[in-house]
């Protein structure tokens, strides 16, 4: 059993003290920031990624992954206790989760969502582990035309799924692509759009873009509506144990939600948020207690909460196998990998098996750690919601500035940070998708290089995309998703929040 010995080696790498510290720190900090209302996984990742730059690649990678998984766990806490979703993928949780709180079962809701997250997260890692090698062997066939088709697919599908009109999405995508072209173009050696500012030659970094759009903009939005410090229900430790009946009802949705989420994660766009809706509707359809939904049905918490963690794992597959991000969080994860000198893609699993296996082991370990941490610390995490808003906003801005500057000690990045913060604020006001901008910014260089290569390769004949089996498949898939929004029509009805920021 080759897989097992490789995995054992991966766990062996985790035993180094620095690796353990990085993993633990990533998990804790990721959860803490994930709990804070208004800062979703993208904001949390963006703020915290610079922390991992202090470590060597293998350890930094672990911390990056731990932050990623940790930030996915926290969002449900404020949904359940306050009916204030921490991010788009926890909106559905408010429906039944907050009702459970009103009935005095807040503890059970929190516990079930932590257990569900663990079950789904672990399932997703197992699938990722089994699928990565065979899929990478297949993905090695990808060349410029395939990557070009993939870029078009990602952009179109994202605009289809992230809400808002096609025009709005394309506006955001256009902005992102424009940002991506600033600086030195490696292929031609030309310097573009720098207006003779020397610092712009190296282009725009992802850290200030992400932290600005999702961190600073969030601070501006929060500062705008002076909220009061919410009255939090007490969650005594004893009430954390779900009753036997609750447990029996909550477990099957975890597996269903986890699997559903995983497959949603393979699709570009706000897969985590969409998968929570899908899971909720599925549970409501097959439940024996259909009348309880909306009044505190535990299935309505455990299904969706599992689904978004399944999706977080599923989204790792295209990232590892193709080196291609399908949503905002994996775009940041890709940036984090790149900064540590790790280039995911078809050759990654083969070229760096040690790294791949320690990453898989790290994901297993992070899920276990999160489960263990979430129980005793649930009180601490909820008390985070009590931090006075003024203090919190100041802290977030402070972390944002330090983190952005530390990424590569360039002062221009701090200017970008605030420019992007203002842009993010304006985008929210105009209901433009920030995720679309960021994704376009990340895949811009891939799009450009694959486009120029494909044009050269096909001597300018666009039908090349219909002549190769893989590109043909992607084109057909794109057409399907763009032309048949029927599948998602049900989701459009209850768009309580601007799901443009769903991840």
């Amino acid at each position: 059993m080759d897989t097992l010995s490789a995995l054992a080696d991966g766990f062996g790498a985790l035993l180094a003290p620095t690796a353990l510290i990085a993993l633990l720190a990533g998990v804790v900090i990721g959860s803490v920031v994930g709990v804070l209302p208004g800062i979703g996984p993208v904001g949390a990742m963006a703020l915290l990624l610079p922390l991992s730059f202090a470590f060597d690649p293998a350890v930094g990678l672990l911390m990056t992954i731990a932050i990623y998984l940790g930030s996915q766990y926290g969002g449900s806490t404020s949904s359940i206790l306050l009916s204030v979703p921490g991010e788009a993928s926890s909106v559905v949780t408010t429906l039944d989760g907050h009702q459970m709180t009103k009935r005095g079962r807040a503890g059970a809701a929190l516990a079930v969502s932590a257990i569900g997250s663990f079950v789904a997260g672990t399932m997703a890692v197992a699938l990722l582990m089994l699928l990565s090698e065979p899929l990478s062997a297949f993905a090695i066939r990808f060349s410029a035309p395939e990557y070009l088709a993939l870029c078009i697919f990602a952009i179109l599908v994202l605009s289809r799924l992230s809400g808002g009109t096609f025009t709005r999405s394309m506006l955001a995508v256009g902005l992102g692509l424009m940002l991506a072209t600033i600086g030195l173009d490696d292929l031609s050696g030309n310097v573009r759009f720098t207006f003779d500012i020397g610092e712009l030659i190296q282009g725009v970094e992802i850290t200030p873009v992400a932290v600005g759009l999702f961190g600073i903009a969030e601070v501006l939005l929060l500062a705008e509506n002076r909220g009061h410090v919410p009255q939090l229900p007490k969650v005594p430790f004893r009430s954390l144990w779900p009753t036997r009946t609750e447990m029996r009802r909550a477990v099957p949705p975890m597996f269903r939600g986890g699997l559903l989420g995983f497959f949603f994660g393979l699709v570009p766009g706000p897969s985590a948020a969409v998968s929570t809706y899908a899971s909720y509707m599925l549970e409501r359809r097959i439940s024996k207690h259909r009348d309880e939904f909306g009044k505190g049905a535990i299935e309505g918490v455990s299904g969706p909460e599992s689904a978004n963690n399944g999706a977080a794992g599923g989204a790792m597959v295209p990232l590892i196998v193709l080196g291609f991000p399908f949503n905002g969080v994996t775009a940041l994860l890709l940036a984090g990998f790149t900064i540590h000198g790790i280039i995911p893609g078809p050759l990654f699993v083969e070229n760096s098996p040690d790294l791949f296996w320690s990453l898989v082991a790290g994901m297993y370990a992070a899920n276990i750690t999160l489960l263990i941490l979430n129980f005793p610390l649930v009180g601490l995490f909820t008390s985070l919601l009590r931090i006075p808003r003024d203090v919190l906003l100041g802290l977030i801005v402070l972390i944002a500035i330090i983190g952005t500057y530390a990424a590569r000690s360039a002062l221009i990045d701090v200017f970008w940070l605030f420019a992007m913060g203002v842009l993010g604020y304006v985008m929210v006001k105009l209901r433009l998708s920030r995720v679309a901008l960021m994704l376009a910014f990340v895949i811009g260089p891939i799009l450009e290089s694959s486009l120029t290569q494909t044009v050269a390769f096909a001597n300018g004949d666009p039908t090349v995309l219909l002549q190769r089996p893989i590109t043909m498949t992607i084109v057909v898939l794109t057409a399907l998703v763009v032309l048949t929004p029927v599948i998602f029509r049900g989701l459009k009805r209850d768009r309580a929040v601007d799901s443009a920021d769903a991840v």
Binding site: S188, T194, T338, G341, I399, S409, T452
Partner: protein
């Protein structure tokens, strides 16, 4: 409950402080007792990149040699010229030095609009390694030698595709020089640095040129085969002939890449010599030799005067090539 809030806030704050790095630049006090303080070494490439790991490996050996810490600062961008422009602005007191890769110093500053002014702005200290650029083909193409690919290109002018990182890169120039020497024409395709291997493995392009390390395992597995090495030395653990030794006249110094350390212009001679001596010892050290053989590099020490000559020749050649190929 107040205490809980505090605990939470301090958790956040602790995270913040983790990122805060101290950065003290040394201030020299005369060159006779150099170095009396820690040295900052700029690396004009991203953390984790190949030049970065070479620089860090060498710096860690030099630390014991000089008895002072060497702090690495990554200032990537502009093909390695951004970091050099930072260096040029620093005090020439030996406490700020920089890693460099030859294209940035000899070629790129002439091609792109960068604040770096070229060799005038720096004092060469020492070369530590040469960079082996290899040419490779897919195994099932049946191409295994320079003669093979020249014959193939003669049979189908402009049809044989070569995957190259970018226009005007060292590898691009090497292939152009081969084209000129053999009077042939390839279809040069620019795919971006690091992207040259996969499309050759899957048969999209016929040939590729890249730095040796990532190619090795594909040759060992039988997916790719070596064609030749550009430059003047064959990297450790690679079984391929030098293109310069073939019948085609290619000046290896024009296309060979090298990396090492430079200081700001006007750095006192005794400081440059002290640094160069440390580099020489470090290059010969066991730790560095191990690193070189594991990464298929070429250890090659060149002192300040020879390096200055090398950079001047390279800059003149680059000017000529930019003119000739209209880059």
């Amino acid at each position: 409950m107040q205490r809980r809030t505090f605990a939470a806030a301090s958790l956040l704050l602790a995270g913040t402080l983790l990122t805060a790095c101290t950065d003290a630049s040394g201030s020299g006090n005369g060159s006779e007792d150099y170095p009396s303080d820690q040295i900052t070494m700029i690396v004009p490439f991203p953390a984790g990149s190949a030049p970065d790991s070479t620089a860090r490996t060498l710096a860690s050996v030099m630390e014991t040699e000089l008895g002072q810490r060497i702090v690495i600062e990554n200032k990537e961008g502009g093909s390695g010229t951004i970091g050099l422009s930072e260096l040029a602005a620093a005090e020439p007191d030996g406490y700020t030095i920089s890693w460099f890769a030859s294209p940035g110093v000899t070629m790129q500053w002439q091609r792109i609009d960068t604040p770096f002014e070229g060799p005038e702005a720096i004092t060469p200290v020492a070369q530590a390694i040469s960079v082996g650029t290899v040419m490779f083909a897919a195994s099932d193409s049946g191409l295994t030698t320079i003669e093979d690919i020249v014959a193939a290109a003669e049979a189908a002018p402009g049809e044989i595709s070569v995957a190259l990182p970018g226009e005007g890169s060292g590898m691009d120039l090497a292939v152009r020089e081969l084209e000129a020497a053999a009077e042939i024409e390839f279809d040069r395709i620019y795919v971006g640095a690091g992207e040259q291997i996969q499309p050759v493995v899957n048969g999209t392009y016929d040939l590729g040129a890249a730095q040796a390390p990532p190619v090795v395992q594909y040759v060992e597995r039988g997916d790719l085969s070596w064609i030749g090495v550009f430059g003047d030395a064959v990297p450790a653990g690679i079984d391929a002939p030098l293109v310069a030794d073939s019948e085609y006249e290619i000046d290896p110094t024009a296309v060979a890449g090298y990396e090492g350390i430079v200081a700001p212009a006007g750095t006192p001679e005794e400081i440059v010599d002290a640094l160069a001596a440390a580099v020489e010892t470090a290059v010969a050290s066991e730790e560095f030799s191990e690193y070189i053989s594991s990464t298929h590099g070429i250890a090659q020490f060149t002192g300040p005067d020879d390096l200055a000559q090398k950079i001047d020749d390279g800059t003149a050649t680059a000017t000529e090539l930019i003119e000739r190929y209209g880059l």
